[in-house]
């Protein structure tokens, strides 16, 4: 008969044995798991779902989500290391449109969620901190609406964007001018830039490229990021006889700018209003007054490239409209990422980084490669769209256009 003391000893032995078996199983299980394919490829994205860039963040998210759906519908991405297709999984965290949180929320994605790769937010102000953070973690990042070239000249290795640069925007404007018959071209350009990094450097590149092409920048003025009154700039342009406008306002500023142009009766032959006129709400805010305004947003859903029809149809059925520019660029980022992962054949970050760097793939932005600094080297980065009868038409490049350029912009009295 077992004594109570022996019973206790027996229980202790069983407990110790169980613990040892458990530990051994754990170690064995872990070593076994190390060679196993992951259930998903984890992509981290700190994105603006709330705050001032909330709307833009949602467009970017929509593009990523449709991209992931299309890739996962085909079973995911084939990785040679695991000899199978693995679905993509994206983890979104809200950065509240706060640049500091835009970066700090990536800390969580990296160290808690253990993501394999990052995707970027919306808006340069939120993307810029993300680039340095991805570099810090030596984890590749693909970002959408990022025109700044300065960040791509800092020697970072893990950052990529297929989006147009400030140079592309200036080149697009000058290309359109040069495409016009010589005797009808505008001859005096007024540049009004917003006083931020983008406005400053876009103006600098415009000045530099215009000088090479013998286009005169008659006026070069800046306005504050919070400016609401542009009358002094408009009057200066009118007095100087400027017949082309190139400006970089925020969306509310862009609407005000056009209203004040009308009030002061200044109608240049060609008007480029970047960023503000990208928004699909442009004709709702301005009605007929928004017509003839050109913009260069870096992408257009009218492009005649493979895959764009599927994106347009799926986007329209999900969200009731054609894709906004950030959504199209985000979708292209997913295409580039899936292609790079497949070529890398592994989730090792350096190999994925090298695969992205050597990208040569057809996307909804057209054929896409990357320059050595990580900026996109695409065929259609210098697209120009124009509002015509309340519709956003692609007018440049001509072979991709949905409508010819409406030129010149008629005087306000004749509209």
């Amino acid at each position: 008969m077992e004594t109570p003391r022996r019973k206790v000893q027996l229980r202790k032995s069983v407990l110790v044995l169980s613990l040892m078996v458990f530990l051994l199983l754990g170690i064995w299980g872990e070593s076994f798991a190390a060679g196993e394919a992951p259930k998903t490829i984890r992509i981290g994205c700190s994105i603006s779902l709330t705050g001032i860039f909330g709307a833009g963040g949602k467009w970017v998210r929509q593009g990523y989500e449709i991209g992931i759906k299309h890739i996962n519908d085909a079973g995911g991405v084939y990785l040679e290391e695991f000899k199978k297709k693995i679905p993509l999984e994206i983890i979104f965290v809200d950065n509240e449109s706060d640049p500091a949180k835009s970066a700090s929320r990536m800390d969580k994605l990296y160290s808690v969620d253990k993501v394999d790769v990052f995707l970027g937010s919306f808006a340069g102000a939120l993307i810029i901190p993300q680039l340095a953070t991805a570099e810090k973690y030596k984890t590749p990042i693909l970002v959408t609406t990022m025109t700044s070239t300065a960040e791509f000249q800092k020697g970072y290795k893990y950052i990529f964007t297929p989006f147009q640069s400030e140079q592309d925007q200036a080149i697009a404007f000058l290309d359109v001018i040069e495409s016009l018959p010589k005797d009808q071209r505008p001859t005096k350009v007024a540049y009004f830039g917003i006083q931020d990094e983008w406005g400053t450097s876009t103006g600098r590149y415009l000045k530099e490229f215009a000088a090479k092409r013998n286009v005169e920048i008659k006026l070069f003025e800046m306005y504050a990021m919070t400016a609401t009154d542009f009358s002094s700039h408009i009057i200066n342009a009118k007095n100087a006889g400027a017949d082309a406008l190139f400006t970089t306002p925020s969306p509310p500023q862009g609407v005000r700018f056009v209203k004040q142009m009308k009030e002061l009766d200044w109608s240049p032959k060609l008007a480029f209003i970047l960023r503000a006129a990208d928004d699909s709400s442009w004709p709702k805010n301005l009605g007929k007054d928004g017509d003839f305004i050109c913009h260069s947003g870096g992408w257009d859903y009218h492009l005649k490239v493979p895959g764009i029809q599927r994106l347009n149809e799926n986007y329209k059925s999900s969200y009731g409209s054609f894709p906004e520019i950030p959504a199209g660029v985000a979708y292209a980022c997913m295409q580039i990422l899936a292609d790079a992962l497949q070529r890398a054949g592994t989730l090792e970050k350096d190999k994925v980084r090298d695969a992205i760097a050597s990208t040569n793939v057809m996307t909804v932005m057209g054929p896409m490669k990357f320059k050595s600094n990580g900026r996109g080297d695409g065929k259609y980065l210098q697209v120009v769209s124009q509002w015509q009868n309340g519709n956003d038409e692609l007018v440049w490049p001509k072979d991709q256009g949905s409508a010819p350029l409406a030129y010149p912009m008629p005087p306000w009295s004749k509209r």
Binding site: A125, I128, A150, K154, G155, D196, A224
Partner: protein, 317 residues
Amino acid sequence: MKIPKKIWIPICVVGLAASVPLLTKSEYFVNLLVMLFVYVTLSQSWNLQGGFNGQISLGHSAFFGMGALITRLLWMSKIPILLAIIGGGLSSIILAGIVGIPCLRMKRGYFPIGTLGLAIIAQITVGNILPVPGSLPSEYIVGYSLSSRYYLALSVAIMGVLVVYAVVRSRTGLALVAIRDDEEAAEAVGIKTFRYKIEALLISSFLAGLGGGVFAYHQVSYYYQSPFELSWSFLPTLTTFIGGLGTILGPILGSVCFLALNELFAFTLGEIHLVIFGFTFIMIVLFLPGGLMSISNKFQSPLSMKMGWGKRMRSIF
């Protein structure tokens, strides 16, 4: 020498905080703590002026931003980071001396408005002069060490707490509290109110500048105007009110609560997290007007009594 019981808890907390980078591999958690220490430094700085002196400042973003700006510029010019941060703190003192002192002439509700104006002017000016982002070049990123930033942030936060504690326990502290409670009465009994208010402002701005310096050293990339944003004025105001105005522990508790809930809600509640976050703090202010520190007044804790933190001590802590 026998260490008093009431000192044990802070020593244990600091010891635990100092061992965090050795205990965890989670960079997220360590980064979060760095930001917590920045919040604590800034909140203590605000508390000295707003909590103990009754001068509700909405201009702390200008001091914080100035500290961040000068630290970053000095550091990028290859000046050692410790000197750069001290330079940042001193630059905030200079700003406070030039612009803040005239603001102190304003009475009652005009002082917050005046300091708010200062914060707005500083943000716009820096945004216009330096519209570019201050991202670190790749050679700085390659050598980025999180643990060095962690210990620097921890040291600055401890220093901030100790400085405020020392000031509050001194003759100056008594004068500051007297001014807060009734400025005219303080003046009537011979306290040079303007001089003491200047002292509080200069110490407070120095601490805010140091906090900005830590921020500049920790962040790999941000726009130069970001630390000048008004949210850096509202943050210490909010955390101090949540924790307990005019107490040493209040801003620490408020900062912990603010940061922890913000992160927790952001990761679990989706797009409505900011609404719930705001609602939570409205509830705290409504039901705990004395902040989280007032809980201890409502519920006498046997532990606090045993540790020698009686009512008299709690009034300071």
